[in-house]
């Protein structure tokens, strides 16, 4: 479908200028926004998987015109971190670190990559810049966003200098319950040489909300970027988490957990681009579909011709708790260098009847047995999370949702 159908009649340059003025942004940034706005007309929706007779996710049905309300954005935000790292709200970052922004903004996620990235670039009104200087180990950076408006566009930039490290926990939730909301987030991570980033995210927006997120990182030599991606909220989520391993011996791990129930639809991408020598990637996603929920998973491991001595692994497992739910998966391997050890696997199934029988025969009632097995199913994913708070929250949310279940 042509993106032309999505153009907003009611989005104007004046609105974009007003947002940019309000944040006291320099001209180049305003220009970037205006160019993104102008490009909307020609841009397509993000790619979704197509198989004979169907698109796995339909983004064209969303009525962006009515969902997007750029001048009335409102949120509650916590942006906190240790003293030796800088965790800056967007307006402060604009004032203090224009050079950093100029270098990195839009360098990892192209503002004009697709319709939704351009919309986000043109209209974002809130954001966080996390800057970790050389040699600093920064723990417990927390960015919490509570959305209190019809639409919210959020931008996050993480820059780690040489031999630094940081753990970041980001959470999105909905405050005042509005009927339908749209949350859009762009995250760029530039991991300097030998630095370490763990970026954990817990999306628990209202189940009336729509969500589009791109999180992308570039890892320099010896750098590591680890992503934790928890998805529980929204009625429709389209999200991508990806790492480009551009420096020799860089590494990445993408760990995902999702739990879809009712009529939720999660379209989750995990992608890694091996572009240097001796790089390693490990992608692990586990999730549940219940009721009439649907999960769509695309995993890509792309090994470039120059990526000698690559190791790349991917696993995706979905547990279906209901017959009416659907779990679609496409784990892709694209290998251009033979000096590679790569594997991927995906499984879909239901709770193992034997396990259930074993537990019930030991006196556990069937419902508790089922809940224990589901909680156990997530353990391999939970184990990978460095930040205790994120792990505990995720575990609790899964447990709560499970116990709500009849």
């Amino acid at each position: 479908m042509s993106a032309g159908t999505q153009v907003h009649a009611n989005l104007t340059e004046e609105q974009v200028r007003e947002i940019s003025d309000g944040l006291d942004e320099p001209d180049w940034l305003l220009e970037t926004r205006l160019e993104a706005l102008a490009a909307l007309e020609d841009l397509e929706m993000p790619d979704v998987i197509r198989t004979p007779g169907r698109d796995w996710t339909n983004l064209h049905e969303l009525d962006f015109e009515s969902l997007v309300d750029p001048l009335n954005a409102a949120e509650n935000k916590d942006q906190v971190g240790p003293e030796d790292a800088e965790v800056l709200p967007w307006s402060e970052a604009v004032a203090d670190h224009e050079d950093l922004l100029q270098e990195h903004f839009g360098s990892i996620v192209d503002p004009q990559e697709n319709y939704l990235t351009a919309l986000s670039t043109a209209l974002f009104s809130t954001g966080t810049v996390i800057y970790v200087p050389e040699g600093v180990d920064a723990e417990d950076v927390t960015v919490r966003t509570e959305q209190n408006s019809r639409s919210l566009f959020n931008y996050t930039l993480v820059i780690t200098e040489e031999s630094s490290s940081v753990t970041i926990l980001e959470r999105q939730s909905t405050g005042e319950e509005a009927a339908e909301q749209y949350y859009s987030g762009v995250v760029e991570v530039a991991a300097g040489e030998n630095s370490y980033v763990q970026y954990g995210s817990l999306q628990n927006l209202s189940e009336d909300a729509y969500n589009f997120t791109v999180k992308r990182g570039v890892a320099d030599t010896y750098a590591t970027i680890d992503w934790i991606e928890g998805n529980l909220g929204t009625q429709l989520t389209k999200t991508e988490v990806s790492t480009t391993l551009s420096g020799d011996s860089s590494e990445t791990q993408i760990v995902g957990a999702f739990y879809g129930h009712n009529d939720q639809h999660f379209d989750l991408d995990a992608k890694v681009w091996h572009r240097a020598e001796h790089t390693t990637a490990d992608l692990v996603t586990r999730g549940i579909t219940d009721d009439v929920a649907r999960s769509v998973y695309e995993g890509v491991q792309d090994v470039g011709a120059d990526a000698w001595d690559t190791s790349s692994y991917q696993r995706e497992n979905t547990l279906m708790l209901s017959d009416e739910s659907e779990a679609d998966a496409s784990p892709k391997l694209i290998i251009n260098n033979h000096d590679t050890e790569a594997s991927h696997s995906a499984t879909v199934g239901q709770i193992d009847a034997e396990d259930l029988f074993y537990m019930t025969s030991r006196g556990v009632d069937p419902r508790s047995a089922r809940n224990m097995l589901v909680e156990g199913f997530f353990v391999p994913v939970l184990e990978e999370i460095d930040v205790d708070e994120l792990r505990d929250d995720l575990e609790e949310l899964i447990g709560t949702r499970l116990r709500e279940r009849e």
Binding site: A305, T318, P331, N336, E341, H344
Partner: protein, 476 residues
């Protein structure tokens, strides 16, 4: 059959030359395929009206359908000018019935067979040299034995004449309708030749049904149609002899294969494909499996410039089973995009897909698979396993599985691995006195064994030899 050909040669010369003129005119006027040409083909074959009507409908569908596009990593078809297909509907008249003599074959083909070490008689059959005569002798006896049991095995054009009811019911109706994809539609319009196999209820055809002979049977083998109907409780193994490289002038192969597997029936369909390296191989192959039926696809894809082929099984009846075993080898300039499609549309169905690929010297292999488990297909299971072996960093090996799971009581697993030939394995073999090349060949032979062990010995030998020759880089 030979008298048919004589008849054709004697009486249809004028029609054929006229046809040729039409063809050239069409190219000049840039119209592509025309109704006139389709009518000409049908008339030339003396077909009944219903078949002509199907061709014309397929033509219309072809003209209204877009080329495949937007597939991630799909082979480059830009050099395939569909408008230019016209000359290839009919290879030039001289070669229409195959060449008369071994010496008239293109050097590339002769050379290949010499290197394969295939005996002269077999070479003749493989290359289509007087194939009808040579092979008829060979296969006639077998045919008689089958006929006694009610088995029908003949070429497709003949089946249209002699078994219209069966063909009418099954030909491009429910299994591969022309609307399936652009090349299925093209096939439906210009199809010619191919095999028809009918196995009555309860009959087991012990010997594999081999279709070497059809390569040149009507001279238009690149659009051949294969229709296999296996009635309840029957069993048959069909082997497609695509092992003969085609003449250099052919640049598009767009065949159609339809298999009807009755209740409790068992069909194995094996292909060893080695098209010349300027051929676009865009086939549609599909089976429909009734309750407790079993379909097995075994294929080795060696040749072609680009292949897009995803044999498909629709598991329609409860308890039906599908097995895919495929191997692809892509050398320099080749893009072999192949895989499997399985639709689990009934409870208690199962499928296994085993795919192996080897890429070398800049070749690309891709496994593209779709497993669909429909809501209600309880207790179904599928296991997909893909292994890729790569020789160098010029080559590419991709794996793109798609899994659509609408039913919870299932067991779905996909696994894929990619790796280079193990240095340790080579070192081990070298330390036992093998040179580097032999060590690699031996490892590859071991790698493809799951395929070769499914094939009758002569095909297995041939596949092994073809791969060895590819590895030496000495094959056309």
């Amino acid at each position: 059959m030979s008298s048919d050909q004589d008849h054709l040669q004697e009486t249809d010369t004028e029609a054929r030359f006229e046809f040729k003129k039409e063809e050239n005119a069409a190219v000049k006027s840039d119209k592509g395929l025309t109704e006139e040409i389709i009518r000409m083909i049908s008339e030339d074959k003396d077909e009944p009206d219903w078949m002509l009507e199907r061709r014309l409908r397929a033509l219309e569908q072809y003209q209204n359908m877009p080329m495949p596009s937007g597939w991630p990593g799909m082979p480059d078809l830009s050099e395939l000018d569909v408008e230019e297909i016209i000359p290839y509907i009919r290879p030039d008249v001289d070669k229409r019935e195959g060449v008369d003599d071994w010496t008239e074959l293109p050097d590339e083909i002769k050379d290949t067979f010499d290197k394969l070490g295939i005996p002269e008689a077999e070479k003749n059959a493989l290359s289509g040299v007087g194939a009808q005569y040579e092979s008829e002798v060979v296969y006639q006896n077998m045919q008689e034995q089958w006929e006694e049991k009610g088995v029908i095995f003949c070429n497709m054009d003949k089946a249209v004449q002699e078994h219209p009811e069966l063909v009418k019911e099954h030909f491009m109706t429910t299994c591969v309708p022309p609307s399936d994809n652009k090349f299925a539609a093209l096939h439906g319009a210009v199809w010619s030749g191919g095999s028809f196999v009918y196995v009555p209820e309860g009959v087991t055809v012990e010997m594999p049904v081999q279709a070497y002979f059809r390569m040149n049977s009507e001279g238009m083998g690149q659009f051949e149609h294969t229709l296999i109907i296996a009635e309840e409780g029957s069993e048959v193994h069909y082997i497609e002899g695509c092992s003969a490289p085609k003449y250099g002038t052919h640049n598009l192969h767009s065949g159609g294969v339809e298999v009807f597997v009755g209740e409790d029936a068992h069909v194995q369909y094996s292909t060893v494909q080695n098209w010349s390296k300027n051929t676009f191989n865009l086939n549609t192959k599909r089976a429909i499996c009734e309750a407790n039926g079993t379909m097995e696809w075994v294929s080795g894809s060696m040749g072609s410039k680009a292949t897009m082929l995803y044999p498909c099984t629709i598991l329609k009846g409860r308890g039906s089973t599908d097995t895919h075993i495929t191997i692809a080898f892509a050398g320099e300039g080749q893009d072999i995009d192949t895989g499997a499609k399985v639709y689990h549309n009934a409870p208690d169905t199962s499928s296994t897909i085993e795919s192996k690929s080897i890429s070398k010297d800049g070749g690309r292999t891709n496994y593209r698979g779709l497993v669909h488990i429909a809501d209600g297909a309880e207790n179904s299971s599928t296991a997909v396993e893909c292994d890729a072996l790569m020789f160098d960093n010029e080559s590419t090996s991709d794996t793109m599985p798609y899994m659509e799971i609408e039913e919870s009581k299932v067991d779905v697993a996909h696994e894929a691995t990619v790796g280079k030939i193990g240095d340790e394995d080579i070192f081990y073999l070298q330390s036992r006195g093998l040179d580097d090349d032999d060590a690699k060949k031996m490892i590859v032979a071991g790698f493809i064994e799951p395929i070769t062990e499914e094939l009758p010995i002569e095909y297995a030998v041939e596949l092994n030899r073809l791969i060895e020759l590819e590895m030496e880089g000495s094959l056309g």
